[in-house]
């Protein structure tokens, strides 16, 4: 029997041993916190090792896009259409009991040289299947939109953790000082359920939070308010500058004061830079047409303008662009991919909004050579069931297996990694987690996900918490 006193003594020595071991260990396990100049917090910083990607654009489909009806082809569903899913009797998922297996509601066709089957729901994206690197074995920790959205963007299901874009701008700064390092572009219909949490800096300094704007809604407070005359604004700023200059002279060597003065200069630069980047009029007619920016479907045209804005921001050196498709507040499946009850009619509505603009963005990035050093990541918070919900014509939430895809810098083309079971229900082959996805994204940016950290509340915090493995199989 181990005595309490002995246990404590052993534990103490044991812990001491661990501490010593970590002191003696080589430097490559130590946390790496980027050195940040407070007067230039968004200055470019060098990654941990040579990167494949210099910038990232994510396309997030809000509401949980069905992998069953888009990218994860399951012939077994045609054979067993409208029969119970074997081994799933009495299965209860998010909204309740499950009905029978239902075959994909859009026809799958083989695409490109890879012959990848992708459905007719997204024909323009399907035509680019040869560019994509699919992860069919993705899993999420939560079957509920809010926590699952949090996990996809921040690594944690709980609220209050920094978004991946915030981590990346913290690590790497930006290649431009005329635009924010990290831009979030919400859907024309609104934001996902956790809204600004997708791009929050949480415990990272606020300078690394995403700046949210769209092609149609500029950065808040960017412009001089209409109620203030230009001459009044100029004189006010000149007087302010004289106040600050005097104050700085009395407090030499205070980097924060210099940083505040610099922030007003940066704001002025950004006023010009953001207006220039958001002005789509200079784009050729062919480009505008390929995205669909003048489409009669107003939501599609708005999303198309956002996609074009994303390309313009990436071109101008923005480090991380987070593009959203779908919004939460309009209700289940109405403005998003949450097709519980009438998935066919809902997706027939949402498909065209996403498809042409997102495909045009991917193709445009490729044709301009930007895919060479830009990573595209297409995600959603979880997948959907291969069955219909009992008494309904839609699919329930399924975090046990779903599809995300990557394209561009450092990843294979026309490649599929991992697999779900024969019904598309659970990931069974090379099962991947969101930690793995984040670890891989950071790796492509030249960052070691186990070392990039920020000391907060006694913990060296990481995007990947204490988990995650780089998915080496998908690296080119």
């Amino acid at each position: 029997m181990l005595q309490r006193r002995d246990f404590l003594q052993h534990a103490a020595t044991g812990l001491g041993g661990i501490a010593l071991a970590s002191l003696l260990s080589a430097d490559e396990t130590k946390p790496l916190r980027p050195a940040i100049d407070p007067s230039r917090p968004l200055a470019p910083r060098t990654p941990h090792f040579a990167p494949k990607a210099k910038r990232v654009v994510t396309i997030f489909c809000s509401g949980a896009l069905s992998h069953i009806d888009t990218f994860d082809y399951k012939p077994e569903l045609y054979k067993r259409h409208d029969t119970p899913m074997p081994g799933a009797s009495g299965l209860v998922t998010f909204q309740g009991e499950q009905g029978n297996l239902i075959r994909p509601l859009w026809e799958f066709k083989r695409r490109g040289e890879s012959g990848k089957p992708v459905s007719e729901l997204l024909p323009n994206l399907a035509a680019l299947a040869d560019e994509m690197c699919f992860i069919h074995s993705m899993t999420a920790k939560s079957n509920t939109h809010g926590p699952a959205e949090n996990q996809m963007s921040t690594g944690f299901t709980l609220d209050g953790f920094p978004g991946m874009g915030a981590w990346v701008s913290y690590a790497l700064g930006a290649e431009t000082q005329n635009l924010p390092a990290f831009v979030a572009i919400p859907d024309p219909r609104g934001v996902p359920q956790v809204g600004p949490r997708h791009w929050a800096s949480a415990f990272l300094p606020a300078v690394f939070q995403g700046t949210a704007f769209t092609a149609d809604k500029p950065i808040p407070n960017l412009a001089r308010p209409a109620s203030i005359e230009p001459a009044t604004d100029d004189d006010t700023r000149a007087f302010l500058q004289s106040l600050n200059a005097r104050h700085l002279a009395e407090h030499q060597n205070d980097p924060d004061l210099a940083a505040r003065i610099a922030s007003y200069e940066l704001a002025a630069k950004m006023q010009l830079g953001a207006v220039e980047a958001s002005d789509l009029r200079g784009e050729s007619e062919a480009t505008r047409k390929s995205y669909g920016v003048d489409d009669p479907n107003k939501v599609k045209a708005g999303f198309a303008r956002n996609c074009l804005l994303a390309r313009r921001l990436l071109e101008r050196g923005v480090r991380f662009v987070q593009l959203f498709n779908g919004a939460y507040a309009m209700g289940e499946g109405v403005g998003n991919w949450d097709g519980h009850k009438t998935i066919k009619s809902q997706y027939d509505h949402h498909g065209p909004i996403l498809d042409q603009p997102a495909a045009a963005l991917l193709r445009d990035l490729r044709d301009r050579g930007l895919l060479e050093d830009t990573l595209v990541v297409f995600t959603t918070e979880f997948g959907r069931m291969p069955t219909f919900q009992k008494g309904a014509s839609g699919r329930d939430h399924n975090p046990k297996g779903f599809t995300v895809w990557l394209a561009g810098a450092g990843v294979k083309h026309g490649y599929s990694h991992g697999a779900t079971d024969e019904f598309g229900h659970k990931a069974v082959e090379k099962v991947a987690t969101i930690y793995d996805l984040h670890a891989t994204m950071l790796h492509l940016l030249g960052l070691d996900h186990e070392r990039l950290s920020y000391y907060h509340n006694g913990i060296e915090r990481r995007l990947t918490d204490v988990h995650g493995h780089v998915i080496r199989d998908i690296l080119s």
Binding site: G160, P196, A206, F208, P220, T236, L240, N244, H247, S263
Partner: protein
């Protein structure tokens, strides 16, 4: 919970996690918010109205503004520049400048 846009730019901690110490970062968005947000314009107008209510002459209003914002009197050059600004652009312009000044926003 959606972070209030006024505070979100200023390192307001997310209430979802404990935050023993608040971050201090400096961003262009803070500058834009302090210069141009409806909240700050409203506060500048209220500040100007207070100065008008409390003291009768433009010079006294400048002095009172410096006292309230900075806890000190203006120097001769500041008094001169501030008086010109008030005469030509109105008291709210002075209030807007004072509330954007480093001396007001940061504690030394």
């Amino acid at each position: 919970m959606e972070l209030d846009p006024v505070f979100g730019a200023f390192d307001c901690p997310d209430a979802g996690q404990v935050a023993p110490r608040r971050n201090v970062s400096v961003t262009p968005l803070q500058a834009m918010s302090l210069l141009n947000s409806p909240f700050m314009l409203q506060q500048a107008a209220l500040f100007a109205a207070r100065l008008e209510r409390e003291v009768p002459t433009p010079e006294e209003r400048v002095r009172r503004g410096f006292q309230i914002a900075f806890g000190r009197d203006p120097g001769p050059a500041e008094l001169e520049a501030a008086s010109v600004l008030v005469r030509e652009r109105g008291l709210p312009a002075l209030a807007r400048a004072l509330m954007n000044a480093n001396e007001f926003v940061t504690v030394n």
